[in-house]
């Protein structure tokens, strides 16, 4: 009997301790899908977290959290242990985030790359990576000699298809003869499979390789084979110094700092953010001088135009593979169309796997 009583006392004390802590200082939690040292997706989110820390706000993180039942447990635990704002940084955390948000109305949640905001304390945010893909396409179209561009794709979701289309459209603009060959690996992160895919594309005649997967394996294969490549999510230049023309960098730091401060000061409001080159959420690593100063200048100009809105990645006329018009001449694709993109544009080989 007294044992149960003791347990009760202890748990009450524990809860008091936890809630007392929550009132005392403001804390931000992060949930990562990979290890912080992946030098890709998670690495960049962690850089953002460090910026929040540098702004004088306490943070904690949990890395390598599988998308699924574990995610909900981890998010719930962060919410319970006195975190006031929680960033969940992978698409697969969408439902768990909303589920936990329902039970913790006083905690703010921010979910990356998702679209569900079922409760008023859930915001979503993502970056317009496709703007970076447009620049990659421009370079790829100019640099290829075989006119075959190899693309390692992860999962057939709108974000990945959008990247393939943006790249192909930009490459076609500078080189109408190019073909985009795609290999789906059905993983975000499997260096063995990614490097086999890169090698297969190179063997099939691709002399420019790009990836929508997170490991550095493809650029290393490209370096060895002497073909061009592009880094993903963070600057991968040191893994393939000769081969990499540039990397698309995800810069979450300003957003994380802004939102953390807003939450601390009580000005946080639910919103849906989709930032790109203009706001700096998508940034480009230094351009490789091997592509020649003229091309570097061209790309830098294009980058400025995309940022200022003078150019748009999806400017009509755009046709799908069968030749049906998707975007009329003179207009650009709206965000709704971009968010749900599920067809290839003309010039991409093959079909989207189901």
């Amino acid at each position: 009997m007294y044992k149960n009583f003791l347990r009760y006392i202890i748990s009450v004390l524990f809860l008091l301790g936890v809630s007392g802590q929550a009132n005392a200082d403001f804390k931000v939690g992060f949930v990562y899908v990979g290890p912080t040292g992946d030098h890709g997706w998670t690495y960049q989110h962690d850089e953002g977290r460090k910026a929040v820390e540098a702004a004088g706000i306490k943070t904690t993180y949990v890395e390598s959290v599988p998308e699924g039942a574990d995610a909900e447990r981890v998010i719930r635990q962060l919410a319970q242990s006195g975190h006031d704002l929680i960033f969940t940084t992978s698409f697969g955390y969408m439902d768990p985030t909303n589920k936990v948000a329902k039970d913790f109305p006083n905690v703010k949640f921010e979910h990356a790359t998702g679209y569900k905001r079922e409760h008023s304390n859930v915001s979503t945010y993502s970056a317009r990576f496709y703007e970076g893909r447009t620049l990659l396409g421009h370079m790829a179209g100019k640099m290829t000699k075989t006119n075959v561009i190899g693309y390692i794709a992860s999962f057939p979701i709108p974000e990945v298809i959008r990247g393939i289309n943006a790249m192909t459209l930009a490459a076609q603009k500078v080189n109408p003869d190019i073909k985009t060959k795609i290999v789906w690996v059905f993983t975000w992160y499997d260096p063995g499979k990614e490097s086999e895919a890169a090698q297969a594309l190179i063997d099939q005649g691709a002399d420019v390789i790009m990836q929508h997967t997170d490991s550095t394996a493809p650029v290393q294969v490209a370096e060895k084979a002497g073909v061009w490549s592009f880094g993903q999510a963070s600057d991968m230049q040191r893994f393939a110094p000769k081969s990499i023309l540039t990397s698309i960098i995800d810069d979450w730091a300003p957003y994380y700092v802004e939102r953390s401060i807003a939450a601390r000061d009580g000005t946080w409001k639910q919103q849906d953010t989709w930032h790109g080159l203009k706001e700096g959420m998508v940034a480009m690593a230094p351009y490789n001088s091997a592509m020649g100063s003229d091309l570097v200048k061209e790309v830098e100009q294009l980058q400025k135009d995309l940022a200022s809105g003078k150019a748009h990645s999806f400017t009509g006329p755009i046709y799908d593979q069968k030749g049906n018009i998707l975007v009329a001449e003179g207009s650009v694709a709206d965000d709704g169309m971009l968010a749900g993109m599920n067809v290839y544009v003309k010039g991409v080989e093959g079909d989207i796997p189901q």
Binding site: I182, P191, E349, G350, P353
Partner: protein
């Protein structure tokens, strides 16, 4: 898209490279199983070999030490399995599964500081011959020394099991540990040695992945290859030469499906990744219908605990 002879040569070369970890791990496991021990910890020993090899490469900057170290660490991990199953007489299946889970967790912990470090170039042999001889060049030349060793290993294993005295002892222990023991053979010692050998080979298979195939360390980078190696031993009906053939088939499936995609052919990727296991089940069904063939190579005491009464 060209299907000229040289391209086919390159394709075969790529298939060979992808089958190396399977050959190494399966050949090691084959010896272990022929002595009557079922070690399901292949995946765990491989991943430990992968991280140890990579970590030693970073620390010592010496590829020889890295390869040697990966084998030793695979061996050390397998000692745990040996002590548990041979000395403490625990269940083989449960212990092997535990070893895999332990290996994956342990390697992730050791590997924390080695993520994101670029690997070192592993020397490839006869690279100029590879480029100058069409078709045969990319098949025979331009590989790492470990690949040549892996392709020799099944033949050596075959000879060892069939023609040497130690090979005969291992088979005797695997088929009937009681009779072997009555003949004065130290069953526990033989089984220990076979477990350690299997561990070392799995470690080497892991090092091939982290040092040569994708020179870097990534959590869980073996990606289920250990399980395929285990299936491969059964698929090969415990014959070393068939391990080689099976590894080429299993490796070929992965490489070909990527090439088929690049060409634009539609194939369900999920089905292809399940194919090695489906084929193993088919082989199991086929061999169980022909009892003469099973008896030929299957160690009859596989997975059974041997206890010598004193």
């Amino acid at each position: 898209m060209s299907f000229d002879l040289n391209f086919i040569g390159i394709l075969i070369g790529a298939i060979m490279a992808s089958s190396v970890p399977l050959i190494l791990a399966a050949s090691g496991e084959l010896i272990t199983e022929r002595s009557g021990v079922l070690n399901l910890g292949v995946e765990g020993m491989m991943i430990i070999g992968a991280i140890s090899g990579f970590a030693l490469m970073v620390i010592t900057d010496n590829l020889f030490f890295a390869v040697l170290g990966s084998m030793i660490s695979g061996l050390i991990i397998s000692i745990i399995f040996g002590v548990l199953t041979q000395s403490l007489l625990t269940n083989h299946v449960a212990t092997g599964l535990a070893l895999t889970i332990f290996g994956i967790g342990m390697s992730a912990m050791i590997g924390k500081n080695f993520v994101g470090i670029p690997g070192k170039e592993f020397p490839l042999l006869f690279v100029n011959l590879k480029e100058n001889i069409p078709f045969l060049g990319p098949i025979i030349f331009g590989h790492s020394v470990i690949l040549y060793f892996a392709f020799l290993l099944p033949f050596l294993t075959n000879y060892f099991l069939r023609k040497t005295k130690i090979g005969l002892i291992i088979r005797a222990v695997g088929d009937s540990p009681t009779s072997a023991s009555n003949q004065g053979i130290n069953v526990t010692l033989v089984r220990y040695s076979c477990i350690l050998y299997g561990g070392a080979m799995c470690g080497l298979a892991g090092a091939y992945l982290s040092l040569i195939y994708t020179p870097q360390w990534i959590e869980n980078m073996t990606g289920g290859r250990g399980w395929i190696a285990l299936a491969l031993v059964v698929f090969a009906t415990w014959s070393p030469i068939k391990v080689l053939i099976g590894a080429l088939i299993f490796g070929g499936i992965t490489i070909l499906q990527l090439h088929m995609q690049a060409v634009g052919l539609r194939i369900p990727v999920q089905l292809l990744s399940a194919l090695p296991y489906i084929m193993t089940i088919i082989v199991l069904v086929v061999i169980s219908r022909d009892s003469r063939k099973i008896k030929l190579n299957t160690p009859t005491s596989l997975g059974q605990i041997f206890y010598k009464e004193k």
